[in-house]
Amino acid sequence: MSAYLIETIGLTKKFGEQIGVKNLGLHVPQGKIYGLLGRNGAGKTTTMRMLLNFVHPTSGTILLFGTDYKKQPDKTYRKIGSIIETPGFYDNLTGRENLKILARLRGQHRKDGIDYALEVVELNKEANKIFSNYSLGMKQRLGIAAAIMHEPELLILDEPISGLDPIGIHEIRKFFLTLCKEKGITILISSHVLSEIEQLADIIGVMHEGRLLEEVDMIELRKRNRLYVTFTVSDVNTAALLLERQFGTSDYTVCDNRTIRLYDNIDRRGEINNCFVSNGLLVTTVSVSEEKLEDYFSELIGGGGIG
């Protein structure tokens, strides 16, 4: 059996001439939270729809629990809970009745599954309210309840906390972490908000324009975050030349015509400053900073923010 609960090989989806997802190789290990990160339109939702068999891939392979997703779909998808964008429920039914439909169709895993799920998302007091009268946050919470009520082994969640208030976000995030760490449930969660993913995920996959640019372990990623020193100088070309000739480093980036960012020789920044000044450069700022994840992802997708 594959080490991954979700694995895709060369997964591609074309919408006419337009490419939604291209040659995707996703690897979601068991018992981890995998954050799929990308800007709006990066292909995250299409990927998740393909994983859930809502969208037919143009080409490629999807392995769920180590087997082809089309073999025994009934057995496979019973072990999965999902939310794709805004959850859809019947407007004329109460929250409880909506969950009852799903429980009836799925077969109840536990007798108190509906109550358990409603309690987890704190909707037990609103369970008998008509769905059309729910607020956006309540609708989202009912979607989460529907996804977890049968205690799935895998959760596929597309932007699950959008629409929740800050306390709700905190509670649900805590709940997802508990599900993963204590019950060993694997979670694939997508978001275009880095801070959301950063606090949850063990592994991050970055998507951009339908491609998976990188899959990286968060521990590794945090190690990669480096300190750097920023010099604001009167002439970046001379500064760059001095760094290379006097300090033998090329590990710098020129941010604009006055700012240069140096990633090594941090401890020698005073010495470097003296060198710049003695070579006729006007140095207005020397500051030490840490490269944030946001910068890293921004660089990865070629500029622009994630969110």
Binding site: R49, L52, N53, F54, V55, H56, P73, D74, Y77, R78, I80, S82, I84, T86, P87, G88, F89, Y90, D91, N92, L93, E97, K100, I101, L102, R104, L105, R106, I130, G143, A146
Partner: protein, 249 residues
């Protein structure tokens, strides 16, 4: 399948469409009674028979009002899953697309037959009241039972010929196109109901078949039945194939 049907019924709880459709089933019988009252006063010598009322009720249900009401129901049943974005919730359970769509057709059949029975029963009750207040000839359960058979058969034919509207609802994901199409088909019924060509128009032909009027048109039964079957099967197959192949958004 039983669970799916149970869920289809549960989905109609508090549904305004259910109430509206029940009221819709009362419209044709009520109109027949209203027409009877008008005749009673405008042409007092005219004898209104129980069979006349049922005959007109069956005619207007199959040619006009029923066609539109049942098309709206078909469109509602199939399109609401798109408008309420519930497909991604239900199909993720998982439920097979084929089973799901078949359960929808069965639900449509149950709904149409229920409305047919409501129309028949309400016609019986209203005719009895009409008879008590004015006068009605040949009021008997024998006549009522005869027309029960005709109306049930009519309901079955209407279900069979309404499948293209289900496809239109799936294809357009809304009510508008099926309703406009149903109105156009109903206009065709009006134009062809007294013409021999009506035998080649499946929605009119259904009524002609039930009433044994096909022989008078000169067209062979096999041709008429084949045309009805083609429309029905095309509606079923197009719905199933399109639903199976389309991506769920």
């Amino acid at each position: 399948m039983v669970n799916l049907l149970y869920c289809e019924l549960l989905k109609l709880k508090r549904s305004k469409m259910l109430l509206i459709s029940f009221l819709g089933a009362l419209v044709t019988p009520s109109m027949m009674i209203a027409d009877g009252i008008k005749i009673h006063y405008s042409k007092p010598d005219t004898i209104i028979t129980f069979a006349d009322l049922y005959d007109s009720c069956s005619l207007y249900t199959m040619m006009l009002f029923g066609l539109i009401v049942y098309s709206v129901i078909a469109a509602y049943l199939f399109s609401r899953e798109y408008t309420e974005k519930t497909l991604k919730t239900i199909l993720a359970v998982p439920v097979s697309k084929l089973t799901f769509i078949i359960s929808k057709f069965i639900m449509l059949f149950i709904w149409i037959m229920t409305l047919t029975l409501i129309s028949w029963a309400s016609m019986f009750v209203l005719a009895a009241l009409f008879g008590a207040a004015f006068e009605i000839a040949e009021f008997s359960t024998v006549v009522a039972v005869k027309y029960l058979g005709e109306m049930v058969l009519g309901g079955i034919f209407m279900f069979l010929t309404i499948t293209p509207f289900a496809f239109l609802a799936i294809w357009t994901k809304g009510l508008v196109v099926p309703i406009i199409t149903a109105a156009a088909i109903a206009m065709g019924n009006v134009a062809l109901s007294n013409e021999a060509l009506g035998a080649l128009y499946p929605w009119t032909a259904s009524l002609m078949l039930i009433r044994g009027e096909i022989t008078q048109t000169g067209y062979p039964y096999l041709l008429v039945i084949t045309l009805i079957a083609i429309v029905s099967i095309l509606g079923f197959l197009a719905s199933i194939i399109y639903f199976q192949r389309e991506d769920i958004k």
